[in-house]
Structures are given as structure tokens and as C-alpha cells.
């Protein structure tokens, strides 16, 4: 009986650790690593050959390498290290811009192949027979068969699992964890924000590999044998089932899943009496039920029993007046009464000097700026971009002055977004130059330009859906201490102060735009207009000197568009330079000066909207299309 309970304890600990490692990769970082089981197998093997005596011993009936007969805890440490090392080549497969399901299949196939190699390669792995007579840790000191030893082992397994839980939690509830989740939600945007995807995925794999390896070492020390059949394709699926059922993205869910699936379920079926004449029936049906559970959970409750918890980071609540100015999310649009804009603290008007809400005097942008430097902060010269022989942008030269809100308009296909992309660095020009502060930045990729203060927003939805609004804003801050694995490991004491400051800044930004009340909402749950604002705010968190906006008002209710326009103007008055590509010409009327008109890849004219409307060519361009 003692053996039975202690065996369950050890398996529970081992499975919990494995599930935690997987949960961290799959649930948090979004890496579907079907090769996971290999890390555990590798760790177990390492622990085995490190603790075994040389293979000539025991009559030399099995062959393997090393055999250093190392004392506890070295084999376990070795197991973790090897688990981590084995995971590194996997980063190469996962990192590529490959369709998610293709990459997952590549990893699955890798696992199958590894199993094949291992069961056949005798000199290294002793083939299908595996390794037996693996020494138990501390067996020379305490009798492994004794009750005390068994209980000790069980306790050690559980304690280690709890330790792993503490560790995984530490690194997940940190800026590093947040960045992993951002990568999971939208890796392209995370990339453009300057996050090193490769390093993130590799570190995630390495952590998972080390944990898996360790769990393998613990297991092999207990059952004293290493059987490659125990680490097959089906076992990988069981671990995934456990994490999905328990709750991916939630570490307690992972442990729950470990208890429910590999432990409880497999134990429970042990009690079903074997059916006469078909002794294999119950074990086979066990697998069928696991398959059914996977499909059922993915259909009825894909978030698992314990879904991912929302991180509530906000420390401030919005003031009552600001609340009144909040857009009504249920309506989808924004029916905020005009009076909301006059709210004191937290209202938009408090920040901008009194402005005539109708037409802005054209010099408004200029007069508030302390000094008008002659040199433009951003310019492009003779930009050209060709696609399949067609010149979408055909020699565009523009200069953007400091502290101005400049607009770029033009009919469809004029090349506006393409020009913006080249200014931002997300698209390479075929010819021409881009200069920031007089310096040629044409060769710099987007995230480097971002670091120099040139930031862009995207036209299509690019918020991180399963991060809260506040987390979305925080993710845009460059060079956070807690964003690397090491930083996360060093804990809150290391990155806490900087994080608190960042949260303050983010909350101030939310308040400025009247959205403090939704700080802790998932960004994916917001209305279209709110998401637009989050997008802009996120760009602002990077404290840009020049902000490039790509159709920020698309599909946005007129009132909100107006609010956004007002905020942009106030930002310009504080010295920011903003360039906005837009279709909504009324916005241009109110807020932009100057405005460039592009048509068929060239600059047609520039000036104020009133001047442009009076220009024959501009009118024609719009009508001719």
C-alpha cells in the first residue's frame, strides 16, 4: 500500500513538472512543441547514464555511454542541463515564419523520428530494451525499498514540482512573461515593437526543456529503468491533453491537468476489472477516452477547467467626471455627449490650450511651438517602390516639419500607405532616401527606427487580444529590465520599480484619452473605436518624436475621430511631429496643416485643405480615381 501511494506521489510530481514545462511553452509563449517528450526522455537518459556504472559492469548486458556512477544530485542536474540543450535545435524549426500547423507537424514528426532512432540505436541507447538497473539516488545511504525512502522520494517529487511551479510563475508574471504572451497573440506586431522573437522562443524552449529533463531524471531514479517505449507519440498527446483540459495559460491549470489526466484517469482505469477474453480492452479504451476528452474539451471548453487569469495591474480608478466622458462600448460607437470633453482633470481639454473647436487657425501648430527650426525632422527624397514591374510610388519627395500635424491624402492606389511604410521602415524602398534629423536612415529596419523615435501604427487590428489594455501599453515600452529571461528570474526586486513607473505612465496616458476605466479589459473585447485609441496610445508609449499614423480614423465614429484629432493637436503643441495618412478629408480640414496629395505614386500638390479643394488637378485626381 505504501508503495502504491508513494508511486502515485512520484508520478504526480513528475507529471506536474512536465505539464508546467509544456504549459509555459504552449500556453504562455504559444509554441506548439510536439517534440516535448523528447526533452523528458533525454533528461531521463542522462540521469540514467550518469548514475549507472560503466556498461561493462553488471555483466555487460547493456550498452550505453558514460556510466560515471555519479552521486545524487548530479544526475538530476545533468538531466536538466541536457534537457535544455536538446531543446535548442528545436528553436530553429519553431522560429521560422512557417504556418503554425506546419511547424507543429514538423515537430511531431521529429518526435516520431527520435523515437525511431532511439529504439534502434543500440550502442548509445541500448535499443528497444532501454536501460535497467539504474541506481536509485542515495541508495548506498538509505535502502530504496524501505518505507522511509519511498516517502522521502514521494515528498521530494512533490516539493520539486512545487518549486518548479514557483519558478515558472515567477518568470510568467513578469515583463518577460507579458512579452511571451504578446508574441503568442500577434508575433508580427511584437516583432515590429522590437521584441527579439528568436531569443524569446529559444529561452522558452530551453526552460521547458530543462524542466522536462529534470522530471525525466526524477522518474528514472524512482523506477530504475529507462524504457524508450514510454516516450512515444501517444505520450506527447497525453501531455497536451492534460494541459488543454487543465487550462492552458494557467499554471495551476497545468498542474490540475497533470493530476486529472496522467494520474487520476490512468489510475482510475486500473480499477476497472479486465474483460475476459480481451485483456487489452480497457487500456485501449483508455486511449479512446483521452482522444474523446481532447476533442470534447476543445469544443466545449477550449480554455480548460482553469482558464488563464486576467492580470489586473491598474492601481488607479478613473475619477467620476472622466467616467462620464467614457465612450459607451455597448453601442460600439461613441455617443459621449459633447459636454464630456469639457470635464476637468482627466478631460482632453484640460491639456490643450483653448482652441476654437471649429476650424483651427492654420498657424496654430506653428505658433505654439517655441522655436521653428528650419530643418525638417523627417524627409524623404525621390522615394520609389516597384511591385512586379509596376511603380506604385514613383519619385516622392516630402519634408515634414517639427511640431506639425501633416496629412497625406489621395485616391485609392495612390501609394499613400506604401510611402508611410517606407518612412517607417516596414517596407524597403526600391530607390530613394529617408532622412531623420538629417541622418540617412534608409537602411534601418523598423524597430531600430522606433528606437530613434520614429514610430508607426498599423491600419489593421494589431492589438494583443488576450492582454489587457494596460498590458498592451506596457508592451510597447522598449528596454524593460524584466523583459529578458534573466531579468525575470531576478524577480520583482530587480524589475519592480521600473514596472511601477511604467504602469503610472500608462495610466496617465489612458486618463488623458479618457479610457482609464477599461485599463484591465482584454484588448480583444473592445469596440473598434476603442481599439484604435489603444493602438495610438501604444505607439505613444514608446515616446516617439515622430508618429506615423496609417488611417487612424478608418471606421471610427465622427465624434471619436474628432476627439482623437484634438488629442493629436495637443501632442503636436507639445513638440511631437505627426504624419497621418487618411481618407477622412474632414479630419484634414480641421486638424492638418499642411496636407500632401498623392496620386498615382507622385505628389500632386500640397497646402491647406481649402487651397487643395480649389486646385483643379486635385479635384480631378479624386474624381478620375
Amino acid at each position: 500500500m505504501v508503495y502504491y501511494i508513494t508511486t502515485i506521489l512520484v508520478y504526480a510530481g513528475v507529471d506536474a513538472m512536465a505539464c508546467l514545462g509544456l504549459s509555459q511553452q504552449f500556453g504562455i509563449a504559444g509554441v506548439t512543441n510536439f517534440g516535448f517528450i523528447i526533452f523528458q526522455a533525454a533528461g531521463a537518459y542522462t540521469a540514467g547514464v550518469l548514475s549507472l556504472p560503466p556498461d561493462s559492469a553488471n555483466g555487460g548486458f547493456q550498452s550505453y555511454v558514460l556510466g560515471w556512477n555519479l552521486p545524487f544530485p548530479l544526475p538530476w542536474i545533468g538531466a536538466a542541463i541536457v534537457g535544455a540543450l536538446v531543446s535548442v535545435p528545436f528553436a530553429g524549426v519553431v522560429g521560422r515564419r512557417l504556418r503554425g500547423d506546419f511547424a507543429a507537424v514538423a515537430l511531431l514528426v521529429t518526435a516520431v523520428m527520435f523515437n525511431l532512432l532511439v529504439t534502434n540505436f543500440v550502442p548509445l541507447f541500448n535499443g528497444a530494451a532501454g536501460l535497467s538497473l539504474v541506481p536509485a539516488p542515495l541508495q548506498s545511504a538509505v535502502n530504496p525499498q524501505s518505507g522511509a525512502y519511498q516517502w522521502g522520494y514521494g515528498a521530494a517529487a512533490i516539493l520539486l514540482a512545487l518549486g518548479v511551479y514557483w519558478f515558472v510563475n515567477r518568470i510568467t508574471e513578469s515583463p518577460y512573461g507579458r512579452t511571451l504572451r504578446a508574441m503568442r497573440d500577434n508575433d508580427a506586431v511584437a516583432d515590429s515593437l522590437g521584441k527579439d522573437l528568436r531569443a524569446l522562443r529559444t529561452s522558452s524552449l530551453v526552460i521547458g526543456g530543462a524542466i522536462a529533463g529534470l522530471s525525466g531524471g526524477v522518474l528514472v531514479g524512482f523506477i530504475n529503468l529507462w524504457d524508450p517505449q514510454a516516450w512515444g507519440y501517444a505520450e506527447t498527446v497525453v501531455l497536451f491533453a492534460a494541459v488543454i483540459i487543465g487550462g492552458s495559460g494557467n499554471h495551476r491549470g497545468a498542474m490540475l491537468g497533470a493530476l486529472l489526466v496522467p494520474v487520476a484517469f490512468e489510475e482510475a482505469t486500473r480499477y476497472i476489472p479486465p474483460v475476459a477474453g480481451n485483456p487489452n480492452l480497457v487500456p485501449a479504451l483508455q486511449w479512446v477516452v483521452i482522444g474523446l476528452l481532447i476533442v470534447a474539451f476543445l469544443w466545449f471548453r477550449p480554455q480548460g477547467v482553469l482558464p488563464e487569469r486576467r492580470r489586473r495591474l491598474a492601481t488607479r480608478a478613473p475619477s467620476a467626471d472622466a467616467e462620464a466622458a467614457l465612450p459607451n462600448p455597448a453601442a460600439g460607437g461613441l455617443d459621449a455627449p459633447a459636454g464630456g470633453l469639457d470635464a476637468p482633470a482627466g478631460g482632453l481639454d484640460a491639456l490643450a490650450p483653448p482652441v476654437d473647436r471649429g476650424r483651427l487657425p492654420h498657424a496654430a501648430g506653428g505658433s505654439a511651438v517655441p522655436e521653428r527650426t528650419a530643418a525638417p525632422i523627417l524627409q524623404c527624397r525621390d522615394l520609389v517602390r516597384e511591385f512586379d514591374g509596376v511603380r506604385v510610388v514613383d519619385g516622392v519627395s516630402m519634408a515634414f516639419e517639427r511640431g506639425r500635424l501633416t496629412g497625406i491624402i489621395g485616391p485609392n492606389g495612390a501609394g499613400k500607405s506604401t510611402v508611410l511604410a517606407m518612412l517607417a521602415g516596414t517596407l524597403e524602398p526600391t530607390d530613394g532616401r529617408v532622412l531623420l534629423d538629417g541622418e540617412d536612415i534608409t537602411g534601418l529596419p523598423a524597430f531600430r527606427r522606433a528606437r530613434r523615435g520614429l514610430v508607426r501604427t498599423f491600419q489593421l487590428a494589431s492589438e494583443f487580444k488576450r492582454l489587457t489594455v494596460l498590458e498592451n501599453l506596457l508592451s510597447a515600452i522598449p528596454d524593460q529590465r524584466g523583459e529578458t529571461l534573466l531579468g525575470a528570474v531576478r524577480g520583482r526586486r530587480f524589475w519592480g520599480a521600473q514596472e511601477r513607473e511604467a504602469i503610472e505612465r500608462a495610466q496617465a496616458m489612458l486618463e488623458r484619452f479618457g479610457l482609464l476605466g477599461i485599463a484591465d479589459r482584454y484588448a480583444g473585447d473592445l469596440s473598434g473605436g476603442q481599439r484604435r485609441l489603444v493602438e495610438i496610445m501604444r505607439a505613444l508609449m514608446a515616446q516617439p518624436r515622430v508618429l506615423l499614423l496609417d488611417e487612424p480614423m478608418a471606421g471610427v465614429h465622427p465624434r471619436l475621430a474628432h476627439q482623437i484629432g484634438m488629442s493629436l493637436v495637443s501632442l503636436c503643441q507639445e513638440g511631437m511631429t505627426i504624419v497621418m495618412v487618411e481618407h477622412e478629408l474632414s479630419i484634414m480640414d480641421e486638424f492638418c496643416d499642411p496636407v500632401f496629395v498623392l496620386a498615382e505614386g507622385r505628389v500632386l500638390a500640397s497646402g491647406t485643405m481649402a487651397q487643395l479643394r480649389a486646385t483643379e488637378e486635385v479635384v480631378e485626381a479624386y474624381l478620375v480615381g
Binding site: 485609392n412 492606389g413 481618407h583 478629408l585 479624386y622 474624381l623 478620375v624 480615381g625
Partner: protein
């Protein structure tokens, strides 16, 4: 300037090739088209113009069943087809030429036409192909070429030919000249679209190039901000300053 729309009862008249009544449509939860009523009489060429983001494409897509209709009605030849799936709408005689992905790229020109005539019996199919080739003879020289290898103008021609295979009473075109060079664009409108009309079908075309499409239209609607801003014959509209305004004024309440 207020919209001059036909009386509401018009939608029920079986004489119309197409009519929409207070159509509200869009994606997900937000409508892009807000209560638009238009009509097309048999044999007419009707165009819809307007600035970008005015909902022109969405309106077309709602009519042919590609985009969700929230409320309102769509009738084709007097039949209520509101909310019908796109294959059903194609079957009752509506030919649709989308703006992008308008041909089956890996299939040959001939196979594209065959797909257009999928619902036909084989003899009818052969006859229809002959007929379409007589309207667009250039296609006859490219029958074994893969559609993906055609130039922009040739593709559009194929897309239109494909739409004609079922002898539709109504042909709907979404910005047929998008992504085409200006000279080609004029050719497509003046020539290809005109030929469509000459087959006797009614034509509803959405276009960005307002001046060009006005030349070939019997009537034009101007859309802005998802709503009908104006309607009239090309002559009257071209003279109207409000027409020009609606393009450059952004289509919103000033």
C-alpha cells in the same frame, strides 16, 4: 443635397432587375452601409461612386450574398433574395465580378469559363463559351493559358467573360479598373463594360474613377459614409458642384 430615391414601392415592382430597400450591412457587429435604397431597371447601366470608405464595395457584396445583411431587403427580378448565400444568388441570374481574386488562377482560361458555366449541360456550355468568346475575342487566343499568368487587363476580361457564362440578367462589378493603368482602365470601362450592357444584361458597377464611369452610365448614385448622398444622370451630376463636394468633403456632416 438630398437623395432623390425612387418611391419605396419600387422595390416590389417585378420590373426591376435589382432593388435594395433600406439595406443595412457590414462585417461582424458594425454596419458599414446604413439604410441604402437603390434600383436598377432592366437594360440600365447604373454606377455607384463615392470616396474611399463610403461603403460601395460592401453594398455590392451584401447584394450578392458575400457580406452579412443586418436589415433591409434585396430583390432581384422581383424576388426577395435578402440573406441568400452567394451560390443561390448566382443561380438566379446574377453575375458577380469581384475586385480581387476574380479568376481561378491555377485553371486555364477555358476551364475558368467552364466553371462559370458549371450549371449548364454540356451542349449549352459549348454554345455559351462560343458566345462569350464572340464578345471577348481576345480570350479565344488564350484558352489554354493559366489564368494566373494573364496580365491585369486580360484577367479582368476573363473575369467578366466568366460572369457572363450563365447569361445573367444582372452583372455586378466591383471596381473593375482597380489596379489597372489609366489607359487600360478607360478601355475596360468604355469597351468591356459597354459590351456587357450590349448583351442585354443590366449592369451595376462600383467605381473609384468617377469621371470615367459617368461616361458609360445611364444613372449614377453617390455614396458617402455608408449613405446615399446623391443620385442622377451623368449630365446633371457633372454640372453639380455638390457632386464634387461630396468627394472632397469626406461625405460627413460638415
Amino acid at each position: 443635397m438630398s437623395a432623390e430615391v425612387s418611391a419605396n414601392g419600387a422595390a416590389a415592382r417585378p420590373g426591376l432587375a435589382l432593388a435594395t430597400e433600406d439595406l443595412v450591412a457590414g462585417y461582424g457587429h458594425s454596419p458599414v452601409v446604413h439604410g441604402v435604397s437603390i434600383s436598377v431597371s432592366p437594360g440600365e447601366v447604373v454606377s455607384i461612386v463615392g470616396p474611399n470608405g463610403s461603403g460601395k464595395s460592401t453594398l455590392l457584396k451584401a447584394i450578392v450574398g458575400v457580406v452579412r445583411t443586418f436589415s433591409g431587403r434585396v430583390t432581384v427580378g422581383g424576388r426577395d433574395v435578402t440573406g441568400w448565400p452567394s451560390d443561390a444568388i448566382a443561380r438566379i441570374g446574377v453575375g458577380y465580378v469581384p475586385q480581387v481574386d476574380d479568376v481561378f488562377a491555377p485553371l486555364t482560361v477555358r476551364e475558368n469559363l467552364e466553371m462559370g458555366g458549371y450549371l449548364l449541360a454540356s451542349r449549352q456550355l459549348r454554345e455559351r463559351i462560343e458566345h462569350v468568346l464572340s464578345i471577348f475575342p481576345q480570350l479565344g487566343r488564350m484558352l489554354s493559358r493559366r489564368a494566373g499568368r494573364l496580365s491585369g487587363g486580360e484577367r479582368k476580361m476573363l473575369a467578366m467573360g466568366r460572369a457572363l457564362m450563365l447569361a445573367p440578367a444582372l452583372v455586378v462589378l466591383d471596381e473593375p479598373t482597380a489596379n489597372l493603368a489609366p489607359i487600360l482602365a478607360t478601355a475596360v470601362l468604355r469597351d468591356h463594360v459597354r459590351r456587357l450592357a450590349e448583351t442585354g444584361a443590366s449592369v451595376l458597377v462600383v467605381e473609384q474613377r468617377a469621371r470615367a464611369v459617368l461616361e458609360i452610365s445611364d444613372r449614377t448614385y453617390v455614396l458617402g459614409g455608408g449613405r446615399l448622398q446623391m443620385e442622377g444622370t451623368p449630365d446633371r451630376l457633372a454640372e453639380s458642384s455638390a457632386f464634387v463636394e461630396s468627394f472632397l468633403g469626406g461625405g460627413r456632416a460638415a
